[in-house]
């Protein structure tokens, strides 16, 4: 199902949610 | 993302049209679909028998073009331009939008220099206008622009058609998520159990202390 696969592809790329040095500091 | 919801209805129109045509007609459908504003999904059309039949025919270039729009980028087009039909401005715009979607697949941050090279847009204002008007406002990209760092910070992007081999990667990512989620839930459960145990010990200790206090009070009286 192309539509579902596209949705899953988009979903999988959502994580990591944020990828920055400053975020990693705050998260820790 | 909202734009993904609209893709099925849009592409279905072309799939229905393609069912009733062959050869030149099918090639024309490919051209219309690749020009259609708001359409970024081509997998269903690619699977249509009449489109697949273009393989090896005089209109094979149309099939190659459709494959490019399904999986390729602007750079791929430039590298194979001699064997592909020339693109109209709407097609060029769409292919550049699809390129951004592909770039967002691999990285959460897209440097301006990378975008500039991949999209052949050297002027910063033009590049930002393209990202804002043609990617963010069309709903294919959720992002923020960082002028200080000269990059686009991607929050989410609409999904393109799946390339062969990509399915394994996606399945692997989902398995990782599942594993991490289960481990995290287990860790949380352990913490909860520990906290409950600690709380129970504290309660018992307090009860013991209170009992001894009462006893001491009674004996003093």
């Amino acid at each position: 199902d192309h539509s579902l696969l596209r949705q899953v592809s988009s979903l999988v790329r959502r994580l990591p949610a944020i990828d920055s040095a400053h975020f990693r500091e705050e998260f820790l | 993302m909202e734009v993904e919801g609209r893709q099925v209805a849009l592409v279905e129109q072309f799939v229905l049209l393609a069912k009733n045509v062959r050869g030149r007609g099918a090639a024309e459908i490919v051209k219309q679909a690749t020009c259609e504003p708001g359409l970024f999904a081509f997998g269903e059309l690619l699977d249509t028998p009449s489109i697949q039949e273009l393989q090896g025919s005089e209109h094979a270039a149309a099939l190659d073009l459709l494959r490019l729009f399904a999986h390729g980028t602007w750079t791929d087009y430039k590298n194979h331009a001699s064997s592909l039909p020339p693109l109209t401005p709407p097609q060029i715009l769409k292919l550049k939008q699809l390129t951004v979607m592909s770039l967002a697949e691999n990285s959460k941050t897209l440097p301006y220099d990378l975008l500039s090279n991949e999209l052949d847009i050297s002027n910063t204002r033009e590049l930002e206008d393209f990202v804002i008007n043609d990617c963010m406002y069309t709903g294919i990209l959720d992002a923020k622009l960082d002028q200080r760092q000269r990059r686009v910070e991607v929050q989410a992007s609409a999904g393109r058609d799946i390339r062969p081999g990509q399915l394994q990667i996606m399945a692997g990512a989902l398995e990782d998520w599942l594993k991490t989620s289960e481990e995290l839930l287990q860790t949380i459960q352990e913490k909860v159990t520990y906290a409950e145990r600690l709380s129970e010990e504290h309660r018992k200790h307090k009860a013991e202390v209170d009992a001894r206090k009462d006893e001491a009070t009674k004996s003093l009286k």
């Binding site: 579902l4 949705q7 979903l11 705050e26 | 910063t124 622009l145 002028q147």
Partner: protein
């Protein structure tokens, strides 16, 4: 008194014919409506007050028009005549518009756009009039100052199916979705504005220009984590230092979140402590996306 009233009405109609609106209004306002010498019913008083207010409005005299519409407001409830009630509401909306109370005017115009046709006024309220009222509601909402009331009005208008057919719909959509407004589309919108809507404010800019700049600044804050004032000025079509001044004012008034680095000439829209909150939103979006996929799978019988 009766004869005087009749003469005044006659002279006023001549002034009206000659488009001498203020003179006609002054002639009619000389009729003594509060006299104890003759019986004057509420309907007559209401009709006169509304008529006088309308005449003053024709000459853009909102102050005098307001005086008479206020008198009418005491009478409108006791007089259950639909045609007069409609005239009163139209006049009131136009006065608010003329006095640049755009938010209130928008509400009144929107109410008017939903006026239901009845037998008594069927030949005076047609689709064109309703559409005109709706367009006026959109225009006034766009000109109104940003805030929760305006946001609610924008949402109401955007979701009203009738607005999709209006020429102002594209700009309404952009304002509602908080998108950057380009100079060309603002210029096209400005062409249909009335003179009082294009008047200059204290700082020398028009109401529309100020509303657009502030809107675009807020739109930019949604698009950028930071931007130089040079680029911001280019985006907004104004000088960089003006962009900085307006941005600083909006930040000071808490209408926009951000911090300004004057040395680097850059505005940071989000304070850095908000990254964790941003992360929360992203995680929520992931959960929402997962739910969406599961729903789709269920619909397809998987």
């Amino acid at each position: 008194e009766d004869q005087v009233s009749t003469i005044r009405e006659g002279v006023a109609s001549i002034y009206e014919r000659d488009e001498e609106w203020t003179q006609a209004a002054q002639m009619l306002s000389g009729i003594d409506l509060d006299t104890g010498m003759r019986v004057v019913d509420d309907r007559y008083k209401l009709e006169k007050c509304i008529h006088i207010a309308m005449l003053y409005l024709q000459d853009d005299d909102a102050v005098n028009a307001e005086t008479f519409i206020k008198k009418a407001s005491f009478l409108v409830n006791s007089c259950k005549e639909e045609a007069l009630e409609l005239q009163y509401k139209v006049c009131y909306a136009r006065i608010l518009d003329a006095k640049r109370k755009f938010q209130e005017a928008a509400l009144r115009y929107y109410e008017l756009s939903q006026w239901e046709k009845t037998n008594t006024v069927a030949n005076r309220v047609d689709e064109g009039d309703l559409q005109q009222a709706l367009t006026a509601a959109v225009t006034c909402t766009i000109l109104a100052g940003a805030g929760p009331q305006r946001s609610r009005m924008l949402a109401t208008l955007y979701k009203d199916e009738r607005c999709a057919a209006l020429p102002v719909y594209p700009i309404l959509q952009k304002v509602y979705l908080e998108r950057i407004l380009r100079q060309a589309e603002v210029a096209a919108f400005a062409q249909d504005l009335k003179p009082h809507q294009q008047a200059l404010t204290a700082d020398g800019s028009t109401v529309l220009a100020r509303a657009v700049i502030e809107h675009n600044l807020l739109s930019a804050s949604k698009l950028y984590t930071n931007i130089t004032f040079l680029e911001l000025g280019a985006l907004l079509g104004i000088a960089p230092d003006k962009a900085e001044r307006i941005a600083a004012r909006m930040v000071a008034q808490d209408r926009m979140k951000g911090s300004i680095d004057q040395v680097e000439g850059i505005i940071q829209f989000e304070t850095e402590t908000e990254e964790i909150k941003q992360w929360d939103h992203q995680i929520a979006a992931v959960c929402f996306a997962v739910n969406g996929i599961l729903d789709n799978m269920q619909k397809k019988g998987m």
